[in-house]
């Protein structure tokens, strides 16, 4: 029942995204037909293209036919050069997801490092690093690392489609920039949670039973401290998508952010709608995965859902 309720919630959320993106892009005052044909085309030619694009139809009718297509997972073709929206967004999303995945791995490794610092009572190092990471604006850290990479990093060539193994190495510096903020936030959360749980009765009981400090940390405290961190991690995912837009431009990565900006400037409505809707779908799926993870880590959540 709970799963059904959540599925209906997420489906309605996705349909809301579809409606919102449609209204948003159709509210933009510029004429896409003119944007496609440029400033030199005659008004007659522009009007004829407008009709072919279906832009002469009333907005509700345009939305109904669009929704019908979207529900069949058909996002149409680009206004600008007739590329298939699914194919284009799919390719770009793959690159962006790879970038986000690498940055998440980096974030988790860093969080692991923070926990180790806690275990060895040297949390001050983690706090200092967190302070540095959180103080660096993405624009600054991105530009700095991009310039350093251009000078000293050997893997500066990207095939554009993750077809070479060096492409993953190319993504390391931008993924690091992307990971800086989540690293600082998540490590701070895990540190605070550990401190909070450390004073619980069961921790005292475990210590009284003769378990070492490290055993208590790894076996008891961490499991309880994990839920808030997972929730925070889930909240970071949409932020990571937003941050990639800047980072992709800085590092010349042909991901979804670059596509969004070029499509926006060209008034390529089908592409823009496809990006927002498919991006929204990915974020919703990520949330769903995290919701499934919570009861696995903490069975109390499962029983409260059942109630």
């Amino acid at each position: 029942m709970h799963v059904l309720q959540r599925s209906i919630y997420y489906l309605s959320l996705w349909l809301g995204i579809v409606l919102f993106s449609f209204i948003l892009f159709h509210a933009v005052p510029t004429d896409p037909a003119r944007a496609v044909l440029g400033p030199n085309a005659g008004e007659e030619q522009v009007q004829s293209l407008r009709i072919r694009m279906g832009l002469d139809q009333p907005l509700p009718k345009q939305f109904t036919s669009y929704l019908t297509e979207v529900l069949q997972f058909n996002f149409g073709t680009s206004f600008v050069d007739n590329r298939s929206v699914q194919v284009e967004v799919g390719q770009k999303l793959k690159v962006t997801l790879a970038l986000i995945a690498i940055s998440l791995v980096m974030t988790l490794l860093y969080v692991g490092m923070t926990i180790t610092f806690e275990a060895f009572n040297i949390a001050i190092i983690g706090r200092l690093l967190d302070f540095i990471w959180v103080s660096l604006p993405t624009m600054f850290s991105g530009l700095l690392i991009a310039l350093l990479s251009a000078h000293y990093y050997p893997f500066t060539q990207f095939s554009g489609s993750l077809s070479r193994w060096t492409d993953l190495l190319f993504l390391l510096p931008p993924a690091f920039v992307l990971a800086l903020y989540p690293m600082a936030i998540l490590s701070r959360i895990i540190r605070d949670e550990i401190a909070k749980v450390r004073h619980s009765q069961f921790v005292l009981a475990a210590r009284a039973n003769g378990l070492s400090k490290r055993d208590v940390l790894y076996q008891h405290i961490l499991r309880n401290a994990m839920i808030p961190m997972l929730a925070a991690l889930a909240n970071q995912i949409p932020m990571l998508f937003t941050s990639t837009f800047i980072i992709e431009i800085m590092f010349s990565i042909p991901g979804i952010g670059s596509l969004l900006i070029s499509s926006l400037l060209q008034r390529d409505f089908p592409m823009l709608e496809g990006i927002v809707i498919l991006n929204g779908l990915v974020v919703i799926l990520v949330y769903m995965v995290f919701e499934l993870l919570y009861p696995i880590i903490d069975p109390r959540i499962k029983s409260s859902n059942a109630e």
């Binding site: 510029t30 003119r34 042909p254």
Partner: protein, 569 residues
Amino acid sequence: MSNLLKILQKTNRQQSVEADCSQNLIHIKTKYNSLFFIVAIALLAPLLTACSDTKKENQETSQFVIGIAAEPERLDPLTMKNPKTFILSWQIYEGLLGLDDEGLIAPRLAEKWETEDFKTWTFHLRENVYFQSSEIFDNSENTRKMTAEDALSTYTDYCSADAYSSFLLTDSIKGCADYNAGKADSVEGLQVIDEHTFQITLLKPEPFFLNRLTTAWIAIFPKEARSAAHKESWGLQTAVGTGPYRLESKTDSEIILVRNEKYWDKSRQPAIGKLIFRVIKNNQIRLAELNKGTIDLMVVPNTLFPTILNQDGSVKEEYKKDFQTEVYTTYNSNMIGFNLTSMTDVHLRRAMNYGTNRELIVKKLLFGHADVTGGTVPPGIRGYVPPFKEDALFDPVLAKKELQNSKYDGEEIEMLVHEVANSEQVGEIFQSQMKDLGVNIKLTKMDYNSVIGRMIKGDAPMFGMFFDYVFSSPEPILLNLFTSAKRPVPNFMQYSNVKVDKAIEDLRRIGDSTEANKQCAAIEAEIMEEVPAIFLYREKYLTLYSKKFSGLSINQHGHFQFELVKSVQ
């Protein structure tokens, strides 16, 4: 150390090391003797390094890497709209005609042409031209000869409503406008005479018709490209023309072109085997890559001028030492337009025109890398000499006088600026100059497409605009921008003058280009009496490229003739 020895011994037991130096293979086999192995490696190391260096060097000089600032568009000549794509598309595609280094018409796929009345033009196509090899051709050789049928199908496509460049032909070729509007199934004025003869009939005589065809937008491509089987991949994974290079692969990060071994012009057979276009969006990083040697050429954007140029516009010593420079200019024009239906006071327009210090704009913004202009027709286009004196363009005294004669009462005048071609920065300098004159300018920043939309609607009193002309003579420029019939597009200023309309129409009867240039200058002077726009400058572009190569030549259509580039070695 002991670990290192263990690794060496383990490697030693694996017994073989292969060193590949071009075709010479050296095999070394050793057994159980780590000392021998270490000595062998030590002896071979310089040899291996030398081999690898030679290989790297060969590779470096047999390929030329160009850093570009944005992902190129789909390489479909019908939908290409950004002249910045030409750096790439010129390598693959060719038209019937091109431009030589002096900006005069040069034969390309058409070997010769003739006309008796400037209305019917007959083109004799070369017989030895093959398309680049591609799977779109259904034969064992993966290629075929280009014929007049290809010219017919291509030109028909350019007349269609799908073609971005149709505006070049619709008001010129007979039946092109009807085909564009969907009123005809074919273009009446296009005809195949025989396998290698193609004829175009115009609506009216046009001695300057050939100057419409020299751009990369009107390139010939095979009719198979439009077939259902290849439509999806055309311009993305496939692009086939007759140019010196053929497309090997294209992603949004990297485009690789390789030499077209069957290129028809043996005198221009490319010396460099491979061209790689790498997309590096950040200007600083592109420059860093050039310094590092991972790219061989970049066009310097204005934002890097303070880094690369001295105040007087010359290249700094450190860059001169490491790179060659090539300055080129296209047929472009940067201007501030008036909407003449709302900005009706000619004295106010003249005051603003005389009060604009173009030299200062060019110096501040472009470190002098532009020629100031008084009119829209680029100086030098087919030998054109503008009727304006550079030093008389800025006249603050006359500007004040004209302002006094105007009805201007101090109200704010809106000027639209956008993200293209320094529009915002030009607007800011112009605004301050107008403030000194006593005219209030309010800048509104919008994106380029929104500015175009408002210009066409006519609700923008003033707007910053940039033109990169694809025509190669003055007549079509004047015809498009200043005739009454072309309002509101591309006559954005809504300029209308019966006398000028007639004078431009009369250009159709002048076959001699020197005489036509004189007439165009007289027309331009007449137009500028009414100041429909303040024409500012014609931009020059600076290119930095590696000293490992020579011979780069760029013509006035922005055609980088990479086939002429050679390795210095």
